[in-house]
Symmetry: C2
Subunit: 282 residues, 2 copies
Amino acid sequence: MGDDRVRIGVMAPGSRIDTGIADRVRTFAMDRFSDRLVEIYFHPQCFLASGHFAGDDAVRAEAFLDIANDESFDSLWFARGGYGACRIAEALIPRLSDAARRKTYLGYSDAGSLLAGLYKAGLSSLAHGPMPVDITRDGGDGAVERALAYLIDCAPNVLEAGISADTPTAAFNMAVLSQILGTALEPDLTGHVLMLEEVSEHMYRIDRLMFHITGNPGIRKVAGIRLGRCASIPANEPDFGQTEEEVVRHWCERSGIPYLGRADIGHDADNKVVPFGRVPTS
Amino acid sequence: MGDDRVRIGVMAPGSRIDTGIADRVRTFAMDRFSDRLVEIYFHPQCFLASGHFAGDDAVRAEAFLDIANDESFDSLWFARGGYGACRIAEALIPRLSDAARRKTYLGYSDAGSLLAGLYKAGLSSLAHGPMPVDITRDGGDGAVERALAYLIDCAPNVLEAGISADTPTAAFNMAVLSQILGTALEPDLTGHVLMLEEVSEHMYRIDRLMFHITGNPGIRKVAGIRLGRCASIPANEPDFGQTEEEVVRHWCERSGIPYLGRADIGHDADNKVVPFGRVPTS
C-alpha cells in the first residue's frame, strides 16, 4: 500500500514459547525501533502446548500458513527452535500462495528444516539468524535487534561478515541438516558456502554428524564448509582428542570439500544473519 | 582343515575395552563351551587408546584386516560399539580377501556401520547381536552365551523369534542407521524387514531419527519396520506426549512403510541375534 509500515508475523514450528517472551520482544522493538511503524504479531499458536510441540502438527501448519499466505505480513519470523519443524514442512509446500513466496523467513536451529524445504521449493528470501526466544540469552537484546534490523531494513551490517555476493550461502545446525539429508526437504546446495554450527552435542556426535554430512553426494558439491560455533559440548568420556575444528577439517579433507575457516554463527547472542542463496548486490 | 576347532577373532572398531572384559569372556566361554575347541583371540588393538578410539583409524583398520583376511579365523566378533566404525569402514572394503568374504561378523550399535558397509559389499554372513562388552551387563552372561552359540554352532534358538526364512532381515540402532544413509556405507534394504532399536536418546530425537529414516527413498522400499527396545530414554522436557511405538507407527504410516510390531532386540542382555539377509533354511 506504499506505506512504510512493517508487519512481522511470528509462529513456532516446533516448541512453544511463553507469552513473556512475546511481551519482551514487542517492548524491545517498540523502544529500539521507535521511529518506525513496526508491528510484531505473535500468532496465538506460539503459546499452545501439545506434548513436546506448540500445538499439534495441523495447528502449527495452519499457523504457518495464516502468516505465510497473508499478504499483509512482510515476513515470517520463527519464534524458536526446539523440535518439530520437520514434521510440518513437507505438507506446507504445496499450499504456499504467491504472498508466501514474496515473504522473508528468518530463524535457525530446528527451524532450519523449514528453511531447507522452502529453499528447495524456490523461495528466495530465507535467512538463518536470531529468533524471538534469543531475547532470554545474556546479551540477547543484541541478537533480537540484529534480527529486527534484518527484517525491517535488510540492514547489511547484521550479516555474517564473510558473506560474499559472488557465492551463494546456506547455514544450518549440523544435526538439523543431517536429519533432512535424503528426505523431501533436502535442498540443492551445489556451489554454496555451507556454514554449520552445533550446540549440546558430544564431540563423538559432531564427528559422526560430519561423517554423515560430508559423506552425502549432494553436500560434496558445495563450494566449501565454514564452521560456526559449537557450544555447550558435553564432556566426552574419554576426552575425544580432537577439537571441533580438527574434526571438521578432517572430514572436509576426506571428502574433498574445501574447508574455508570459521563462521560467525551459533546458538548464542552473537549469531549473525546468513541469507540463503546469493545476497543481492545493492 | 577338517578339525572342529572354532577360532573367533575380536577387534574393536570404535571404542576400547579393558583386558578384564576379554578375560571374563574367555573364562566364560571355556566354562560354558568346555566340550568344544573354541579359541577367542582378542586382538591387542582392543585395549589401545587414541582419544575416543581404540587406536587411531589406521590401527583399527589393520586390526580388522588382520582378523578378517586370516583364513584361520572362522568369525570376527566386534568387541563393543561406542563410536568409530564409520571412520574405518569405507577404506576396508576394497582390501577384503576371499577369506574375509567367507567369515561371520557379529556385533551391533556403532558396529552397525561396518555391518552395513560389509553387507553392501556383498558379504553374506553378517549378524546384529551381542558383543563381548555385554558381559558387563546384569545378566550379560546370557547375551555372551547367545553370541557364542551363534558363532560356534549357528544355533537357531538364539535368533530373534520373528525372523522368517521367507524374508530378508536387517537390524540397526536408529542413530547409526540414520548416520550412514546417503553415505558410501548405505546398504540396499529393499524387501527387508528392518528392525530398529535405540538407547539413551530423547524422545524428540527418536522422532527426528524416524523422520529421517522413513523419509529416505531407499528405506521406503523395505518390507516393513519392527521396533526393538528403546532403553534409557532421558526425560523429555516437556513430556513428549507419545511413546516410542506411537512415534514409529506415526512415521511408518506417513511414509507408507508397514509397521510390523515389536522386535526382541536392544541395548540389553536380552538382545537376540538377527542375521542380515535371508536365514538359510536347514
